[in-house]
C-alpha cells in the first residue's frame, strides 16, 4: 500500500512570538515542531504498515528548508522516505494554494491512502486535508478517532459526532484527517533516529508538479492578511477570601453581583 502523509512544521507552543511592525507578519523564536495533529497521522500510517508490511510511507510538507527537521522526525518514527516541497519565495497563508500543491504532489507520486492532521495548530484553518481530497476526487473523513485498514481496500473509521461517535467504512483511495485520541504517537527508537539523521531528503520545486508559478504565487491568492493582533491579556485571578466556607460563598455572591455584574 502506498501511504502518503502530509505534515506541517509549526511553532512550538512555548516559542516566543512577536507581531512585527508591519502588523501582518510574525517573528517566531527558532523553536519548531511537527504539528501536534500530524503526529497522529504519522503514527496511523506506521500502524497500517505494521499490518500491511509491503506498504511504503512517504511523508511530505510544503514549507521552508527548516521543515526538513519535522520530516526527519517522521522518518525517526518509522516513515520510509520524505520530500520537502520548498516554499522559499512562495510563502503563503492561503490553504487553497497549499492544497493545490499537495494534491499535485499526490497525483505525481501516486497513493492508496492519504493521512494528515485535522488542522495545523498555528493557523487553525482545518482546510488543507479536505481541499486536497476534493481536488483529487477521492472520499475523505475528518477528525478520525479510530482508524483501521480492513482488507487493503476498505478503511473503517470512527469520528466524533455530537454526543457520540459515528462509524463509517470508506473505500480506498481516500484521505483521512486525524484527531487527538486516535493513537499515542511513538517515541523514536535510536535506530530510527540514526536512520533519520542519515536520510537524504529531496527538495521538490513546486513548479515541477504541473503547476505554474502564477498558480501558486501571492497573486493567485484571494486572501490577504489585513492585520494581526495579540490575544487580549486575561485579567488576574481573584481569590475569594473568607474565614469560613459560608463567608466565602457570601463574598463570592457579592462579587458576582457587584463586581462582575453576572447576577
Amino acid at each position: 500500500m502506498n501511504i502518503l502523509v502530509f505534515i506541517k512544521q509549526v511553532a512550538d507552543t512555548e516559542a516566543r512570538i512577536i507581531i512585527k511592525n508591519d502588523q501582518k507578519s510574525l517573528e517566531i523564536e527558532n523553536k519548531f515542531n511537527m504539528n501536534f495533529f500530524d503526529e497522529f497521522a504519522v503514527e496511523a500510517a506506521i500502524k497500517t504498515k505494521e499490518k500491511f508490511k509491503d506498504s511504503q510511507i512517504t511523508v511530505c510538507t510544503y514549507g521552508p528548508k527548516r521543515a526538513i527537521e519535522a520530516l526527519r522526525t517522521a522518518i525517526a518514527m518509522g516513515a520510509d522516505r520524505a520530500f520537502l516541497i520548498d516554499n522559499t519565495g512562495l510563502e503563503t497563508d492561503d490553504s487553497l494554494i497549499v492544497a493545490k500543491i499537495l494534491a499535485a504532489f499526490a497525483k505525481k507520486e501516486g497513493f492508496d491512502l492519504i493521512l494528515c492532521g485535522r488542522q495545523a495548530i498555528d493557523d487553525e484553518n482545518a482546510n488543507v486535508g479536505v481541499m486536497v481530497a476534493e481536488m483529487l476526487g477521492i472520499p475523505h473523513a475528518s477528525a478520525v478517532i479510530s482508524f483501521e485498514v480492513v482488507d487493503g481496500k476498505i478503511v473503517k473509521i470512527d469520528t466524533e459526532v455530537e454526543g457520540g461517535k459515528e462509524t463509517v467504512e470508506v473505500q480506498l483511495p481516500a484521505l483521512f484527517t486525524t484527531q487527538k485520541g486516535l493513537n499515542t504517537p511513538r517515541v523514536p527508537l535510536i535506530t530510527g533516529v540514526m536512520k533519520a539523521m542519515k536520510a537524504v531528503i529531496p527538495t521538490v520545486d513546486p513548479t515541477t508538479l504541473g503547476l505554474t508559478k502564477e498558480d501558486i504565487d501571492l497573486s493567485a491568492s484571494g486572501i490577504e492578511i489585513v492585520s494581526l493582533d495579540p490575544p487580549q491579556q486575561r485579567p488576574p485571578v481573584k481569590i475569594i477570601e473568607g474565614e469560613t466556607p459560608e463567608e466565602k460563598v457570601r463574598n463570592l455572591v457579592r462579587a458576582l453581583k457587584e463586581e462582575a455584574k453576572a447576577l
Binding site: I68, E69, A76, V187, L189, I190, V193, A196, M197, P236
Partner: protein
C-alpha cells in the same frame, strides 16, 4: 570558528529533548518523592536504545560524537537527575571498561544486555575513606590460582544495590598508591559479593545508591579489565575528561530546568498588580542566570569538541565541570528566591532542583581537588 551544531546534531538534540519531555519530565516529581528505582521508566526508556549511545553501530550502539553525548547528558538531567544518574552510569562508567577490555564472552554476558537495558551496571571507585583520592583505595586484590581474590567495601555506588555487574577498583598493594590500581569485573551471584547499606540521599532520589561488599570474592583471570597490571589509573584517564564534561552537562541540564520553572513563574505570578517579571530586580536575576548558563554551555561544548578532535581537554574539562556546577547552584538558588515561600514546600518542584544540584559538587572530583589540579597543571613543577 564555527559554533553551530550540524543539521544531524541539531536533529538529535531536538529528538532527545522531545523524548525527555514525553517520557521523563512527567515522572520527575514522582521519582523524587517515591525514591524508588523507576523500573517501568527504565524498561521503556532503555528499550529505545540510548544506553548504546557512545558505542559502535556494529554492536548495536549509535556511535554518537562527544558533542551529541553532552547534548544527551544535558537533556536527560533536565528531565530527572535521579533517573539520569542511573542511565548515564550504564552508558558511560558502568560499561566502559567492559567494552574496552572485556572478552567476547564477557561482552555477551554483560555489555550487550546492559546496552539493551536488560542488565544494570555500575563502577565502584569510592570507599568510606576515599573518593577523589584514588591512591587511598583500600579494597585489595591478590592473585589466587587462575584468578583473583578481592576484599573490601565500596561506598556511594550509583546503581550499586540493584546492579547485575560492576567494575571494581582494587589495589594489589595499598602502599604503592596510584601505581597498584586495577579494574575487575564482578557479577551478581558471585560468592562473597553483596550489597550493604542503601543511602538515604538529599537529592538525586530514584537512583539507588549504596554500599557494595566484596568478602573474599574470587573472579577468574578474564575478569581483570586491563592489558597490564597497575595501569588502572591510566585507564581511568581515558574517560575522566568525558566524565567531568558529562557532570558539567548534567549541571547545565538541571540549571535549564530550574530556569524554565523560574521563567514560567515570573510571567504568571502577580504582585503589586503586575507579573513579577516586570520588576527590575527579578529581570536582573534572569539576565545573570542566562549569562552564566551561556558561559557554562560554551565551556562544556568547547571541551567536548576538543575531546572529540583528540586535543588536550584536561583543564577545560575540569573547569567546565566546576564552573557549570557552581552556575547550577546559583540558578537553583535564584529559582527558590523568585518562587518565594512555595519553593520551600515539597509540593512544588524548586526544592527538588535545589537538592539535586548539590550532588554534582562531588562526582567527577570535588571543586577543591579540581582547583588544585588546574592550578598545579597551569603553574607546573617549580
Amino acid at each position: 570558528m564555527n559554533f553551530s551544531l550540524s543539521e544531524e546534531q541539531e536533529f538529535f538534540k531536538k529528538t532527545i529533548a522531545d523524548t525527555v519531555d514525553r517520557m521523563i519530565v512527567p515522572k520527575a516529581q514522582e521519582i523524587d518523592e517515591k525514591d524508588e528505582f523507576p523500573w517501568d521508566l527504565w524498561r521503556d526508556f532503555t528499550g529505545l536504545g540510548y544506553i548504546g549511545l557512545r558505542y559502535p553501530e556494529e554492536i548495536g550502539g549509535m556511535n554518537a560524537d562527544k558533542v551529541m553525548c553532552m547534548t544527551f547528558y544535558e537533556e536527560i538531567a533536565r528531565g530527572s537527575v535521579g533517573f539520569a544518574q542511573s542511565a548515564i552510569m550504564n552508558i558511560l562508567m558502568g560499561t566502559y571498561f567492559i567494552f574496552r577490555f572485556g572478552s567476547e564472552s564477557i561482552k555477551e554476558r554483560c555489555l550487550y544486555p546492559a546496552m539493551r537495558g536488560e542488565k544494570v551496571s555500575t563502577m565502584c571507585f569510592t570507599e568510606d575513606q576515599s573518593g577523589s583520592d584514588l591512591g587511598a583505595t583500600r579494597t585489595t586484590v591478590v592473585k589466587d590460582g587462575d584468578g583473583w581474590r578481592i576484599n573490601g567495601t565500596k561506598m556511594w555506588i550509583t546503581n550499586g544495590p540493584i546492579c547485575d555487574f560492576c567494575t571494581v577498583l582494587a589495589t594489589t598493594d595499598p602502599s604503592k598508591g596510584l601505581k597498584a590500581l586495577n579494574f575487575f569485573l564482578v557479577e551478581k551471584g558471585t560468592p562473597g559479593f553483596s550489597s550493604g547499606q542503601v543511602l538515604n540521599k538529599l537529592g538525586c532520589r530514584g537512583t539507588v545508591t549504596g554500599e557494595l561488599v566484596f568478602d573474599n570474592v574470587w573472579v577468574p583471570n578474564e575478569n581483570l579489565l586491563g592489558q597490564e597490571l597497575g595501569k588502572g589509573v591510566i585507564y581511568v584517564g581515558e574517560i575522566l575528561d568525558e566524565v567531568r564534561l558529562m557532570t558539567g552537562a548534567m549541571a547545565l541540564g538541571i540549571a535549564r530546568g530550574a530556569y524554565a520553572e523560574a521563567m514560567e513563574f515570573a510571567k504568571k505570578r502577580v504582585a503589586f498588580g503586575q507579573p513579577i517579571g516586570n520588576f527590575q530586580l527579578i529581570r536582573e536575576k534572569f539576565a545573570e542566570m542566562d549569562t552564566l548558563m551561556n558561559a557554562a554551555r560554551l565551556m562544556i561544548y568547547y571541551g567536548a569538541w576538543l575531546l572529540e578532535n583528540g586535543m588536550d581537554s584536561r583543564i577545560i574539562a575540569a573547569e567546565a565541570k566546576m564552573y557549570a556546577t557552581e552556575v547550577c547552584l546559583k540558578v537553583v538558588d535564584e529559582l527558590t528566591r523568585i518562587y518565594g515561600a512555595n519553593a520551600f514546600a515539597y509540593e512544588y518542584s524548586p526544592q527538588r532542583y535545589f537538592r539535586d544540584a548539590r550532588f554534582l559538587l562531588y562526582g567527577g572530583g570535588t571543586h577543591e581537588v579540581l582547583r588544585d589540579f588546574i592550578g598545579r597543571t597551569l603553574i607546573g613543577k617549580l
